[in-house]
Symmetry: C2
């Protein structure tokens, strides 16, 4: 993979792309009173992205020179080390469409990161159905709702937005996870989406990514609204107890049983090969009839971790799947 | 893998073994004035080692009860969690020979760990020649010398011992690395070696391990004594410079060239695909004629790291392999 590096009039432009997304970023020659780039001449070159990143990272100094000797060779020097890197002429780089699509929605990077962090774990991680590998972002009635599901579990989170925005787009979960990792400050993120691409721009960076142009197979009514029982429990105690009882299971997706009554809440797990384990949950608040449900330890663990709050409330309809707040 | 757990009169005995080594350790019922074990009855049982270790580690409390219900089931309880583990009768455990062999040599765990840490990296890590996967420990003339080689490089370290000890034994490097990881204090380690087994005992623990009964194929004269050139260099600068120039190489075993003269010491590396890199070493002291050698970046990196000292001295005969102190 190559970076396209272009020294333009007022800024150094770096472009990188793969099949799923293209990233464009820039370093201004002068930023306020700070001089970022000195002694430059205009030009463009393609450099191996991995090698360039590693060398610049390992040099670790405060300043270095980057000189294109000809379109086949660039030189990096920091005073002690001198690196001559094989390059390619810029005209071999594909054309990349970075244009915004329609009127963008503006949200904070904190809100976008929250939507992604709280839903991405529930997206499908196998190539069996591309639309389920996405997070659906739906802007409607003043909310931006992120939904991810692998069809065995579903995660949803919403944030308030400008009520005029209205769209629905499926962006691969992996792309969104990569994009929120790029956030270094609390930016205003401009998000615009079309049938083929979505564009997010923040700070000096712009990301254009492939979207999955299909109807997202989950309607907003899939999450039940009426529950017959609820359990409030300390997140850490729930996680460590699930971890302990699932030790007995030989495979990763341990099935854990949760038995709840007004007197007692117990987690248990058993395996013919290894034995049985039972954990009594201490500080809990259960409201409802005596109820016993079984769940996938990994699903519940990932959901409780994604929420990141001190306590969680699990709501139940019956011997059905729990809904975690 | 099972632990054999035996409650004896004054101590709880735990034995574990695989093809390469057997480990025996004990917890005294009373240690000085401390009561480690209360309310016990004598008996022996076999328990799955992984499950037992994980559950006890995850319970993390200060006290737990371990109760053998019958020879097929044991119960662990810490007040909140109750685990019933599948067990096996003790008579299914193999007989393990933990007897000492002859008069043991006594060395400190610090010295033994030093011998192992400074040589193990040079042992062969492929199953092609078993004796080279070992560290040779040779007691002779008041020294215990550890040697490891994969036949492309050799590492040797010695410590002073009781002059009466005299033996040579090849112990698998992996076994010794595992044994020195068990050291928690500065123990006196008693080491005795025979043709089939070596026994090391320290603290409340005893390890009996398989040895490779072959002549170690390296004589003590293999390391040259006369050098024509030497280079003294800061370890960190050498390591980071090797790391930077070898970035250009696509495979892990990068070849790095070291060019030395009284004016200048340079490391360089090149790859047709990626380009060339050169690093000038700053604070060095080179004595000798102009000399150029090539080395395997990983070999030198591992050796310099194993030494763990601030500066290293590399000595050279000519276009030969360096000898690192």
């Amino acid at each position: 993979m190559c970076f396209k590096i272009e020294m333009a009039q007022d800024q150094l432009e770096i472009t990188s792309s793969n099949d799923d997304l293209a990233v464009f970023t820039r370093i201004l020659v002068k930023e306020n009173d700070k001089e970022n780039i000195r002694n430059y001449a205009l030009g463009t070159v393609l450099v191996n992205a991995h090698i360039l990143t590693e060398i610049v990272r390992k040099l670790g100094g405060s300043e270095l020179s980057f000189e294109v000797i000809d379109e086949r060779m660039a030189k990096i020097d920091d005073g002690n080390g001198t690196y001559k890197l094989v390059c390619m002429p810029a005209d071999e780089y594909p054309d990349i469409d970075m244009e915004r699509i329609g009127t963008p929605l503006t949200i904070t990077s904190t809100d976008l990161a929250k939507l992604v962090d709280m839903t991405a774990f529930a997206a499908l991680d196998k190539e069996t159905r591309r639309v389920l590998m996405s997070i659906n972002l739906k802007a409607e009635a003043g909310s931006l709702v992120a939904t991810a599901t692998d069809s065995a579990r579903l995660s949803r989170k919403s944030v308030a937005i400008d009520p005029s925005a209205r769209f629905s787009v499926n962006i691969p979960a992996k792309t969104l996870v990569d994009v929120v990792k790029m956030f270094e400050n609390n930016y205003e993120v401009e998000l615009s989406a079309g049938a083929k691409r979505a564009v997010m721009s923040f700070g000096d960076t712009m990301v254009s990514c492939r979207v999955i142009d299909e109807n997202y197979p989950v309607s907003s009514s899939i999450i039940p609204q009426i529950f017959n029982a609820s359990l409030e429990v300390n997140s850490t105690e729930l996680l460590t107890s699930i971890d302990r009882v699932s030790t007995l299971s030989s495979d990763r997706a341990a099935v854990v049983k949760l038995s709840m009554s007004s007197e007692d809440v117990e987690l248990s797990s058993s395996s013919d090969q290894n034995g049985t384990g039972t954990e009594r949950l201490g500080a809990v608040n259960y409201e409802g009839e005596r109820l016993e449900i079984a769940f996938n330890a990994m699903f519940v663990t990932q959901a409780v971790r994604a929420l990141g709050s001190e306590d969680v409330v699990l709501k139940f309809i019956g011997e059905m799947k729990p809904f975690v707040i």
